[in-house]
Symmetry: D2
Subunit: 367 residues, 4 copies
């Protein structure tokens, strides 16, 4: 039981990269929600490769279909199955690589774990698997927006050595982010990042990056201490994204350099609501949202599959040289933006439901 | 269902900081394991406050008792209940703070979430809650050591601006770590860290830090893609520790600055075993251990409770000044070392069991 | 993970029959509920052996202690640990039996499953384990009563060949049930049952029985199709009780003899509420409560441990004769009444919470 | 999270009766198992309506497709998605019924629970939903047969007042069961049952029945006390089948009439294996299999949808008369046979895996 996430809004996903389909079931979506494919497709399109010169040339053209759980445009409260059939299989592309373990890819570990692995395309370890999370995230996000006015916006905060200066978190929007193909809201940084990615691509190499994400509209009280704290489940979700290597919330690693007197967020009265004057906490305290903006960052390694020659071995342990063919993004960060947003939505909707379940009851208990 | 962790080796914990007891149940421990209180007590002692001038003056003197699941020094395979009764309650110490929300502590968020909170001592949000994880981790670690020879060693890698140079991960030991009271294996760094902590304490302030951890002996194949990847479950576990704000595995955030050609770990033949020449991956690829050392880091913010005066509000939103009394560590990092190790053990033993469950079956299937 | 039950109101239990303690954690109890030991103790007393000549002579004198999750008589929303220390250990009583597998008891199967078992008293397979369910059930029942006015009443419907005529389900009460020591609300049947049990006891034998249970006040909408239907989770809970061998809801096995035209429950308008004219369904349709009384029955086999000589074998397979010593009820039914009620409450409170979680959301979704 | 079942071999199902598709994901199937659609289709065909005059005239013609988790005829260890597209939609057939609540069907309870329901065909409450369980059960059964030689055989034990005499459980086979269209292995009883069903059909009525099931080859040690006992999980699974109203294992309700001296199963030495001389226990003791045949029975109510006029109400509570149109089996028992077998396989494979996970570890622990 490894391809499932969530307790009350629970998704279960399936699909190999080069198989017939990628899909998922959402078990626990509330009934009565207006939903159809057009709520989901735009987010898949944002995730899709081939959107610009920065991303792989593959045209996935993935179309989502709702197989169940929705009738006349309303959710029934029953399991919602979403499926994306694979229209653009090119198994041959990976032929040579099948015999050799691609360095820093999951070929070897799947082999070691399962004793068998998909012959081509990375199977479940491919970035194509994230289609399922993105599709589910679209539904989660719709609920969060409808019920709470939640807004989730992620952007590329760094590529290689280029850092984007912190934007205004209160106003940053997906429109602003999508204004550049690198999905960095600062035009100057975006240009520099584009150059870094282009240089890596030119040299048959790749480069890493950092995604930042802000969530506005999270109510105070989401997060389930002690093991399902908001930041703990977010961290799990983010580290489940292919190529991610780190997560930090609020002040993160930099905060560990500070003094408490600098780092503590004073509580203040914000027009009748209790809020904080600063937000080093990143919107969570003790694992529970405090009503401020939730803010976090995710580190992505450089794409493992590169065109350069690399040392590796085959399953028998014979050493060899591998130069990957095929179409791969020289930097995963731009396309990871909607994936980070989707997994954020999945994490939050589940914690929101768990808290509403509690509230429904403690409000019902007579004094 | 928030105080539980694990699928096959599942713990469920309880206890408020100033309540009668802290404890837990382990459901799923294999039968036949030699186990008694002396396997657990030393790790609790390592976690205990009052070990040096760097930590709080409280003497918790916590003694663990096994209430079930063990007979004649062997586990029965039935639930193991462990309890630590609270010998050193001082509820009065926190009297003044009860009315005011301590900045960057969980007072406000518990109030917002539950509508009620423990009147003193932080309740479940206190660091005392980690007693349960540490006790359970001792059992998990014993299994990992007995069955796989796994060794888990964490250390203080940074305090404020002082960084410990990377130690030799192949040989670093708990003995070396515990040689200094800051639990930094480098004597020079340890002295500098002690000075930083001492200065913060002197000024009624606190300071953050970073814990690093290495795990030797992890077999290839642990981790359950896609949502229960090894690094995803580790990240969840680490972000569930009080005061943690970040997690990174292998190259982490620094790795996002690199090129793929620098970062990829070439596979090589290591005397008949397939291994990697470098370990930027931190022992995991595609969410599954690859047989190399697992390496990660966790960021901790400065202790929220400080003696200095701070702005805050009460539950009615009235602004006030709070100067915390009581005994608190000026830096949580030294005492967080055994907590990080324990949660690492809990994460790994569960993933190991899930993989062994799979192996037991695929080995049983006839060709 | 086998000693846990529930999704949102989740219990995790521990304790061997002759060990130090029996106990449990409730994770997910709503905050703000008035609760103390006196809410729980009376139900444990009802379950306790030694209440009459019909039950074993052991005086367990079990006292429950709340270790966490409650402060000043109110639940905090955090895990509630309940423990009953074992005051009346008599491990010696079972000495002879330890070497031989008691027929139709769990000695052999525990041995086969775990490779080790508690040396005396049945370990987890003892009826003492039900203390945990009964204690947890007391909390569950308090919530159901406070929030919905739910009333759960079980009674002994049969002992051996003696059947109790169906009582008035709308008015049957625990007071009426407890008016006789066999817990049969019909005085004539009770007398006959007492004679049957007495005769079995006299002959060092035992006899089985059937418990019936009615639940009033269940709202329409509880039960989670398709695998966690109300009757499915009830069936699981009932078959988890030691010695139970069958479960039927509404018309049950007898209903399978009927025609649809006899068995269908016509919907009618009951003063503005939609109800049914008859209740062959037992209060559930399609796995979901329909607002009518929930009614079911549970079959219990004759107590396995009897004083008569029986054939059996030891662990080496050597055949032998065993005549059990010790104190055992000749009929489990009277004491199973509060156990059935408790597991009913645990099943219902969890399903109620799951439904409230759904309602909280679909009511929040704007049109 | 209601349409999922299992812990290690976990299924998640979806699909409305008249929707686009019915399907499921299996998460946790061991890798390396030979599997293709032809392993599954025959069991779907056995479940299919329209097999004889006794069943509904609908031709579902359901074809299963494997969408993921299998490559070159071997399972990959990744999630297996199975889908059956709906080839025979006739939503119009149910038009009149949509406005009225069909008595003893789930129309009203779905309405009460979700506030919305599928406009036609019963949605998730239709018997069509069992396609998913049957398809998953085919995979589970293949594993159980390959690894343990498990054989599961169910049959119609009663229809109305006609009881089939107990067959020889050691030899009864699916071939024998399928020799008659009522799936009763005794030819005389089968003829009488056919007459009873035919009479009900003639009178636009329906009739209930009982399914019995035996499982040969279950190893000792399956079942997870205390809440996931073998009989508890079986009971849950059986009561999750549409129209089921009761479950009993071994002696069941009849056993509650017996004395312990009659009912206890003496242990004996069976050629070196410890077994029992009788099997009133039905193959389980203390919730764990004992290596004997597992035997149980399931009661099914008469089909709720009948052609006769019945009283009912609409959603506004207005009373009305309903005479169902459409095609429905006058007795569900014959077609329920493969459903009972499938859910048995799903229950057992999960418990077997959980036990193997334990064994893998306790065998690995050094002395």
């Amino acid at each position: 039981m490894s391809s499932a996430f969530g307790t009350l809004f629970r998704i279960s996903t399936f699909g190999e990269s080069h198989g017939q389909a990628i899909g998922l079931i959402i078990d626990g979506c509330p009934p009565g929600l207006a939903l159809n494919e057009s709520d989901i497709q735009p987010l898949l399109d944002r995730r899709r490769p081939g959107q610009s010169a920065l991303t792989t040339g593959r045209k996935e053209g993935d179309r989502v279909t709702i197989l169940s759980g929705v009738e006349n445009g309303r959710t029934l409260g029953t399991p919602i199955a979403l499926v994306v059939y694979n229209a653009d299989q090119r198994p041959g592309d990976y032929g040579e690589m099948a015999a050799l373990f691609r360095p820093s890819h999951a070929d070897f570990t799947y082999h070691a774990k399962y004793g068998i692995r998909a012959a081509s395309g990375g199977g479940r370890a491919s970035a194509r698997e994230t289609i399922a999370s993105v599709a589910a995230g679209a539904v989660a996000e719709k609920i969060l927006r409808a019920c709470y006015g939640v807004e989730i916006v992620a952007w590329v905060a760094a590529v290689g050595d280029i850092d984007c200066p912190p934007p205004d978190m209160a106003t940053i929007s997906r429109e602003l982010v999508d204004a550049t193909d690198v999905r960095c809201p600062d035009q100057t940084s975006a240009a520099a990042m584009r150059a870094v990615i282009g240089a890596a691509k030119e040299e048959k190499d790749s480069v890493g990056g950092i995604i930042a994400c802000v969530v506005r509209g999270v109510a105070a009280g989401w997060g389930e201490p002690v093991y399902d704290k908001l930041e703990a489940k977010l961290a799990q979700a983010m580290l489940a994204i292919p190529a991610s290597k780190g997560f930090e919330i609020g002040s993160g690693f930099a905060g560990s350099r500070l003094r408490g007197s600098q780092h503590n967020d004073p509580f203040i009265n914000k027009n009748g609501r209790i809020g904080t004057a600063t937000n080093y906490s990143g919107g969570v305290q003790g694992g529970i949202s405090n009503g401020e903006m939730v803010y976090f960052r995710v580190a992505f390694k450089p794409t493992a599959t590169i065109g350069r020659e690399q040392r590796t071995v085959d399953a028998a342990g014979n050493e060899a040289i591998l130069a990957a063919k095929g179409r791969h993004d020289p930097c995963v960060a731009p396309r990871a933006v909607p994936i980070v947003e989707a997994l954020t939505a999945l994490t939050l909707v589940d914690l929101a439901m768990r808290q509403e379940a509690r509230r429904a009851f403690f409000m019902a208990i007579p004094e």
